[in-house]
C-alpha cells in the first residue's frame, strides 16, 4: 500500500486543479489569525514541498514565488520574505524528489525537516539583516510541527490519486 517507488501500486495522475486547490486551502489555513502562538505549522510550505516532490513539472518555483508573495501580503511581512524562502524550498524539493520518493512517508518526513528548517532560517536571516529583532528560538518549532504533519498530509493529498478509474473486479488497481 506504500505509494512509493518501491511499491507496485500504480496511482492515477494528479489533477492540476487539485494541486492548485490544495495550495489555496493551505493559503487559507495560513491566514487563520493565530497571533504569536509558537509551533503553528507552515501549511503553504508543506503543500508546496509535497507537490514539488510529486509533480515537479506542474508545481515548482513559480508557484513558490506566487504563493510566497500572497503569504507576505496576508501576514503583513516584508514583501519577498516568504517568496524567497519558498522559491529555494521548491528548488531543493524538486532536486531531491527522485530520491525522497524511494522512502516511506515517515522517512520522507525526516528528510523534509531540514528543508523546512532552512526556509525558516532564510526568513530569519533576511529580517535580521534588515534590522528586525530576533523572534526567539520557539520560532523554529514551526518546522518541527510541519515535518510531523508530513505523514497525514501525504495520505490526504494522495487520496484522489488512489481512486480507480472504474471499478472492475478483474483489475487489481
Amino acid at each position: 500500500m506504500q505509494p512509493t517507488h518501491r511499491s507496485s501500486r500504480i496511482l492515477l495522475p494528479a489533477k492540476t486543479w487539485f494541486a492548485w486547490l490544495s495550495l489555496l486551502v493551505a493559503l487559507g489555513l495560513s491566514y487563520i489569525p493565530t497571533g504569536l502562538t509558537p509551533g503553528v505549522p507552515d501549511w503553504v510550505a508543506l503543500v508546496l514541498a509535497f507537490w514539488s516532490i510529486r509533480e515537479p513539472l506542474r508545481v515548482g518555483m513559480g508557484a513558490g514565488f506566487l504563493f510566497g508573495v500572497l503569504v507576505d501580503i496576508g501576514h503583513g511581512a516584508a514583501m519577498g520574505q516568504h517568496a524567497l524562502a519558498y522559491v529555494v524550498l521548491c528548488y531543493l524539493a524538486t532536486s531531491v524528489s527522485r530520491r525522497v520518493l524511494w522512502f516511506g512517508p515517515t522517512q520522507q518526513a525526516l528528510q523534509m525537516f531540514p528543508l523546512l528548517l532552512l526556509t525558516q532560517v532564510i526568513m530569519v536571516t533576511v529580517r535580521l539583516v534588515a534590522g528586525a529583532e530576533f523572534p526567539g528560538w520557539w520560532y523554529f518549532l514551526s518546522s518541527l510541527t510541519s515535518a510531523a504533519l508530513w505523514v497525514p498530509l501525504n495520505y490526504l493529498l494522495l487520496l484522489p490519486q488512489y481512486q480507480p478509474v472504474d471499478r472492475d473486479d478483474n483489475r487489481p488497481i
Binding site: P33, L36, M61, G76, M79, Y91, S95, S97, P135
Partner: protein
C-alpha cells in the same frame, strides 16, 4: 522544462535551466525585499494585491471570531454585573470631569481669541477593537477592526483610557495595522511632564522603552511621566506615554533611561484612534542666505 538535479539530454532541453530560473526568482525576491524594507516602494502593490487575498483572509478569520465571541457568550452573570457596576462608577466620575472640561474648553477658546492665537488643533477620533496580534513574529504589531472606510488614516495615535499604545502604520479597507510602542522601529517624540524636557522614546524589546539621546546631566528622575510633545506634527500633545523606571548616568555621553509604557501595551482590547482633522501647517522654509559679497580691495 528540465528539473533541478535531473538534467535531461541536450535534445530535450527547453527553456532556461532550473539554476537560471532559481537565480532569476531569487534576485526578484531580493529586489522586492530591498524596495519594501528600505524604500517602502511596494505599498501600492501590497494594497492592490490585498484586495485579492481579502475574501480568503475573511474566511480564515471567521473561526477565530467565533471562538472569541463564544468566550464572551459564556461569561457568567456575576461577572457582567460586577463589570456593570464598575462601569457605572467610572461613568459618573467621567461625566463630572466632562462638565468641567467643556467649561474649560470654552474658556480656552475665549482666551485664545483674546490673545490672537490660532485655534487649537481640531481632532478626530475613531473607536476600534484589537482583533489579534499580527502574524509576523519579527515586529510588535496588532490588527484593528477599523480601516480606511471608517476614516482611519496612517499616522494616527492609538490610545486607551490610560495612555498611548502605538501608531497606525498601514491601513487596509476594513482593517488597520498598529505598530506598538514596544516595537524596535517605533519612535515617539516625548517630553517630561514635570519640566518639559524633550526627547525621543523608542522600543527596546521585552516590553520596555528607552528614552534615547538624552544627555547624562539631563534632569530626568525615576518615576517621571513622559507625555507626547506633538513636535512631529502627527500626534496630539500631552498624551501620557510612559513612566521612567531606571536612569543610568554612567554611560559616556547619553544616559540610559529605561521606561515602561503607561497603558498595558500588550494586553488591551478597546482602543481609540486619535488624529488631527487638518494636516499640520507646513514647516517654515529657511530664508536663503544672501550671497556673501567679495570684500573690496582697498
Amino acid at each position: 522544462m528540465s528539473l533541478a538535479g535531473h538534467p535531461s539530454p541536450p535534445i530535450f532541453k527547453q527553456g532556461p535551466t532550473p539554476l537560471v530560473r532559481l537565480a532569476v526568482l531569487v534576485s526578484i525576491c531580493l529586489a522586492m525585499l530591498v524596495a519594501d524594507l528600505k524604500f517602502r516602494y511596494l505599498e501600492v502593490v501590497r494594497q492592490a494585491l490585498s484586495v485579492a487575498t481579502w475574501p480568503l483572509q475573511m474566511a480564515a478569520a471567521a473561526p477565530a471570531d467565533f471562538v472569541r465571541n463564544a468566550a464572551v457568550y459564556f461569561a457568567t452573570l456575576v461577572e457582567v454585573q460586577k463589570d456593570n457596576s464598575a462601569l457605572r462608577g467610572r461613568e459618573l466620575e467621567a461625566a463630572q470631569r466632562l462638565l468641567r472640561f467643556e467649561q474649560l474648553e470654552e474658556e480656552n477658546r475665549r482666551l485664545r481669541g483674546l490673545l490672537d492665537m490660532g485655534a487649537s488643533v481640531a481632532t478626530k477620533s475613531v473607536a476600534a477593537e484589537i482583533l489579534y496580534d499580527a502574524p509576523d513574529p519579527f515586529d510588535r504589531k496588532v490588527i484593528l477592526n477599523r480601516g480606511s472606510q471608517q476614516g482611519v488614516e496612517a499616522g494616527m495615535a492609538v490610545v486607551n483610557e490610560q495612555g498611548m499604545l502605538g501608531q497606525v502604520t498601514r491601513v487596509y479597507p476594513v482593517q488597520a495595522e498598529v505598530t506598538l510602542l514596544t516595537d524596535k522601529d517605533q519612535a515617539v517624540p516625548v517630553q517630561v511632564a514635570r519640566n518639559g524636557l524633550r526627547g525621543v522614546l523608542a522600543g527596546a524589546g521585552q516590553g520596555r522603552l528607552e528614552l534615547r539621546f538624552t544627555l547624562s546631566g539631563a534632569d530626568v528622575r525615576v518615576g517621571d511621566r513622559l507625555v507626547t510633545s506633538g513636535l512631529d506634527g502627527l500626534f496630539l500633545a500631552g498624551l501620557p506615554v510612559a513612566d521612567v523606571v531606571s536612569v543610568d548616568r554612567d554611560a559616556q555621553t547619553f544616559a540610559v533611561i529605561v521606561c515602561e509604557p503607561v497603558a498595558g501595551v500588550e494586553r488591551t482590547t478597546q482602543v481609540l484612534l486619535l488624529g488631527r482633522a487638518a494636516p499640520p501647517p507646513p514647516r517654515p522654509v529657511p530664508e536663503p542666505e544672501p550671497e556673501p559679497r567679495k570684500g573690496r580691495k582697498g
